[in-house]
């Protein structure tokens, strides 16, 4: 997955977890929790969805790497190499 695809993948997961939020316009360099309402349970949901959709395991001590979308790209890039973007059929994001 390239940078755009990883951002799309994360935004699609967030759209599932926080369906009341507008994820289209999320800035990539600002902490996600400063832009939308995300608590620790939501964060665990993001980690769970990464595991279910892409088989990616994120150890607890590395959760902080997922604080921003840019951080997600840097951290997840190697883990998502060669994987295919999976979006929900009803995703609000462009396919």
């Amino acid at each position: 997955m390239n940078r755009e695809e990883i951002i799309l993948a994360i935004k699609d997961i967030i759209a599932t977890i926080a369906p009341d939020e507008d994820v289209q316009s999320l800035a990539t360099d600002v902490r996600l929790r400063d832009q939308i309402e995300l608590d620790s349970m939501d964060f665990l949901d993001i980690v769970m969805e990464l595991r279910k959709r892409y088989g990616v395991q994120v150890p607890e001590e590395e959760y902080k790497e997922l604080a921003t979308l840019d951080g997600c790209v840097t951290y997840l890039g190697p883990k998502l190499e060669g994987k295919v973007l999976k979006q929900r059929r009803d995703s609000p994001l462009p396919a």
Partner: protein, 411 residues
């Protein structure tokens, strides 16, 4: 001991045949069933009572996703109960508000879902959801209600099998009488149609209804009844001490004047007419009335062969000489809404204080002679000369019996 009088000042409900008291009542008087075909994993197609309320009326999508169906039903009923009571909950001292929700069972739906989920990952428990515990704790429906409305007073559930709806109401009344709270929500909810286990267990017991036409599947007192239609639903009453209700000019739906809860101590599943009889008489004694003062008995009958017989035996013993007592049944329309049943079935009868109509029990094509009871209202509504007292019966597994008497409000 003189205790403060407690009255019902608001009703929020969702039933398989109506999402407000007005719609529900209209459908009871028009004989409209809410039972339809329902498909659930491992069981297949079966009749069930399914609700289609506006779950986003009082909650956001994220809250729905995180919570449970029982929580969603509770929040819907609570929001509507406050609104119907004319109460802006945000302006109240919410530390003095109590939430008492009866449930038959809770957690089965969520546990089955989780097991189904991890089964797809070869039972790797790293796929087990962190939401499992907050969804399955026994206070979940009440806790979600407290969260949704910022209620900081006592909020918890009362597990009482199918008597639970009555018990939520009774407990709310008692907490008001004790001065523990100034406003109470009491009633019950059910999300049971989303667990295959409840259908499978009733089927294994030979107590799950089947019928080619789902709307005819729930048929208490009929010769061809063959079991229970499982349903979801909810009903919460806003309860206040009479003085508080009068002070704010609230509309009063009725006064909770009598109740009784007892136990058979006899069998896990079989009912016992003798204890049901004692329970009814206990509620009447507390209300200070005799059987003939009861205008409507809202029966519990679930359409199992033996359960209906036992209840009718108890009803004949208590009301056999009562000329003015009408007996009806609401499960014939909506199936068995489990934890919600007591509250929903009572709510369906409360408008009788105003309009004088008694809705019938439907689907009785051939009355079982062992279920013959004086003034059983069959298939067509009847007009009562006047309705002053409704007795609502709800019984449950492990032999729990409950009876509640509501009186038309009089100063």
């Amino acid at each position: 001991m003189s205790l403060p009088r407690v009255v019902i000042t608001g009703i929020g409900l969702t039933s398989p045949n109506g999402n407000s008291l007005a719609e529900y009542r209209q459908n009871l008087l028009s004989k409209v069933s809410g039972v339809r075909e329902w498909e659930i994993r491992h069981v297949g197609k079966t009749p069930a009572g399914v609700c289609d309320f506006d779950a986003l009326r009082w909650q956001k999508r994220k809250e729905l996703r995180r919570g449970t169906r029982a929580g969603s039903i509770s929040v819907y009923c609570a929001g509507d109960a406050f609104r119907e009571a004319g109460i802006d909950i945000a302006t109240r001292d919410r530390s003095r508000v109590g939430v008492y929700i009866g449930t038959t069972e809770h957690g089965n739906v969520e546990t089955e879902n989780q097991i189904h989920e991890v089964a797809q990952y070869d039972f790797d428990l790293s796929y087990w959801s962190h939401h499992h515990n907050p969804r399955t704790v026994a206070n979940n429906p009440a806790g979600e209600t407290a969260l949704a409305f910022g209620i900081t007073g006592p909020a918890y559930c009362i597990g009482a099998a199918c008597a639970a709806g009555n018990l939520g109401l009774v407990h709310g009344m008692q907490m008001l009488q004790l001065g523990e709270v100034d406003l109470a929500l009491g009633g019950g909810v059910s999300e049971s149609i989303h667990t295959f286990g409840i259908f499978a267990s009733f089927r294994a017991q030979g107590a799950l209804a089947t019928h080619a036409d789902p709307t005819k599947a729930s048929r208490p007192f009929d010769m061809d009844r063959n079991g229970i239609v499982v349903s979801e639903g909810g009903c919460l009453f806003a309860l206040e001490r009479l003085d508080d209700a009068l002070a704010r000019g609230a509309r009063i739906y009725g006064e909770v004047v009598g109740h009784c809860v007892n136990s058979d101590a006899a069998d896990f599943v079989l009912p016992l007419a003798e204890r049901q009889n004692e329970c009814m008489r206990g509620a009447l004694a507390k209300a200070g009335i005799g059987p003939d003062d009861v205008d409507i008995v809202s029966s519990h009958a679930t359409a199992t062969p033996q359960g209906d017989q036992q209840e009718c035996e108890a009803l004949r013993a208590v009301f056999g000489d009562s000329k003015h007592t009408h007996i009806n049944n609401t499960k014939s329309y909506i199936g068995h809404t489990m934890g919600a049943a007591g509250a929903l079935e009572l709510a369906g009868n409360l408008p009788s204080f105003d309009d004088g109509w008694v809705h019938p029990t439907i689907n009785v094509d051939r009355l079982d002679p062992t279920c013959e009871v004086r003034n059983l209202v069959l298939n067509e509504p009847v007009r009562a000369s006047r309705v002053d007292h409704v007795l609502n019966l709800s019984f449950g597994m492990l032999g729990i019996n409950s009876a509640v008497v509501i009186r038309r409000y009089r100063a």
